[in-house]
Symmetry: D3
Subunit: 160 residues, 6 copies
């Protein structure tokens, strides 16, 4: 199975935030952003694995700045690392004020997606061929986050 670079599966979505995505105070729901994050991560991981995927974990989904009605929101998804049948996808969310063109980072999320066959059983995925400096940094951090996930669960279980 031939590996793929992160650039080959990277995915982008830009949308205008509307009344339908907002609460009564004009702020876009965190839940709406989460759904878009999951959708965009799904596209990148389907492109990397050439098949079906399911989301198994979302860790460290932070909202650094609120998003408002009328903002443009851009989601950029990139596969950071692949293991046997799982992939980590980083999704960066920017808001952009259309009147000025100013952009700011609002959310960064890391999702673990698993490639599955028609019956939902895990299948092998291609390895990630890190080419650029950014690719290599993302791959290293993905490995660190994975270690942390394993360590935290162990600690919580021992202290519970």
């Amino acid at each position: 199975m031939k590996g793929k670079t992160p650039a080959e599966s990277a995915s982008t979505v830009t949308l205008v935030m509307q009344l339908i995505h907002a609460n009564s105070a004009g702020f876009i729901h965190g839940g709406e952003i989460m759904k878009l994050v999951d959708t965009t991560a799904g596209v990148a991981s389907m492109r990397h694995s050439n098949g079906r995927v399911v989301t198994v974990e979302v860790d460290s989904l932070t909202f650094l700045a609120p998003v408002h009605i009328g903002d443009l929101v851009t989601l950029d998804a990139v596969v950071t690392q692949a293991w046997r049948s799982s992939m980590e996808v980083e999704v960066r969310v920017k808001r952009e004020d259309p009147r000025t063109g100013d952009q700011e980072q609002t959310t960064t999320a890391y999702l673990t997606m698993v490639a599955v066959d028609e019956d939902g059983r895990p299948v092998r995925v291609p390895e990630v061929l890190a080419e650029t400096q950014d690719d290599i940094r993302r791959q290293r951090e993905a490995n660190l986050r994975r270690e942390e996930r394993i360590r935290i669960r162990a600690r919580l279980e021992s202290e519970a």
Copy 2:
């Protein structure tokens, strides 16, 4: 400001999963569950703080078992701990097969919500009055997770 017990703000939602929530393989989207998790956490934290809230972080949202079309899904949200203007909410998601009544845990999520005024500025929230053994355990684990969040960010920044 008078404290509140977790029971006073606890919230529940049970829904049937439909075609509209599923991908073409009949699995319910992770993103749909995330949106329901955010909505239910919103209700519990609005009840605890008597006002508006925004989601600032979701950490450790895991999907232990896939959800299918026709399943009943129940979300139970409870405020675990409150700090100055922020609250941690635990949302447990169960799936239930309506033909047998069998239930299994599918997702557990921890969200940090901040209470805000009309202009989006943080406001004080009541403390959490832990009464039962479960209340006390949840409060202790909430404090541990908060420490971890702070520690992980520091480590990633130093190694980046």
Copy 3:
């Protein structure tokens, strides 16, 4: 077939009413509440009958108080009585002002649901085991409402 108590199949949903559910004057559409009522009655009757259900009649769906954007709405569904293959479900709808915690009853609906097999043919349902005073009162009123439904149709047909 073993009977079930109303408590075994009772279902609850709490949601925040959003812009998406409202007309341009900020009132929540009656039709949105109706859809939630049907959904919640569906969950309770699926739990009672362990299978598929279809709605065959909604009678006396009243809206006692308007619901606004930002309100919390709680729907409580309980199976009141079962006949051969049909069940009556009562759905009570409360609105709650999150700033004060005050609640008021806004809607009460009675739905007749029929349990069906894969081909849509009616199937037998368990009887309702009324345990509490409330269970017994609801069962008696369900029988009265059923008599009224039969009587009204007869009168309208004779006078038409």
Copy 4:
């Protein structure tokens, strides 16, 4: 205030029922039909009263035949009678098989709508000028249904 005939405010909607409106067995949800019924009754009563309306009661909403994915559904709404600030609207729902053009009546609903001003207070509505034999029959039956509604509530309250 000049009266209006039922024909002046009558409203029609024809739609194709899609996956989005159906449960996992391919039946269209009762709740979807209810929402369309409320929407169509809203259009007819807005045309009769030249303003805003709220739904205050739906009585006798029956589903005579199931609706399937791919069916055409036509809703015809007509104002049957008007009192001080309230109107009764009849909504007839037909399903149509597009392959044969065959139609059958599936639902008939009677809704009480109240005309309101910007602050939600009831306002006077024009009287209904019954012209045709059908107009006169509908007006007579609307009066009977109103008497029944008042009588049923009294009986249930005395027996409760």
Copy 5:
């Protein structure tokens, strides 16, 4: 295969435009109107061809006047002409101010729909039996528009 008059397949939809259809300035999205235009054209062409249809071209979809939240929108679809397996459908969109009953034309669209079998292959459709003066004018203009479509593509290709 027996022909059909335009009146036999004509379709109508009237809806109230809501917050959910609008941008943050209160204008209804062009895209929402387009979706309704496609839906209503679909009903008329399904009735003409007694089967499945797919949209293959929309030409000259103009928005003559903006639509606002609270407006009533009426779409009238009529099949203008049929060729081997394709049909042209005209959809006229009116907005209506419910406070005054005033109506104005806001959009006129011409769609080419093709009748298909279960596998998506084109099938023959009945001819259009033009009866009224309007039917005959629409049929003549449909033929002109079809010639233009063919001519424009040729010119753009030669100049590209």
Copy 6:
């Protein structure tokens, strides 16, 4: 007012097509694609004009190949030409089979958008600075399409 290149305002969206976008035969609705086309054209024209826009015409929206559930759909919007207060936007729609990565062009649409102020009145927009060979070709074709639009309306009016 400084001009902008097409690259500065170009916008992209990639989505997975789901059950919610499809008819009962598994084909994605033309109307869903139209709505996405309008949304993506809206983002590009908001970026070009730094403000609000309304859609005034869609001409030549063709569907060259059907889109199915499970396909990835990518929309690329680019501003081709600007006049006083109006812009033409080209939106190219590709479908991609995630199992093979194969792509094919399915739709090309040309939309005329007008920049408006808060009261809906047209405002001036920056000129389009065509840089690449593609930019220049698109600008020339935009001018041709505009002439055609004017000429066709004149001919239809004289022959009507």
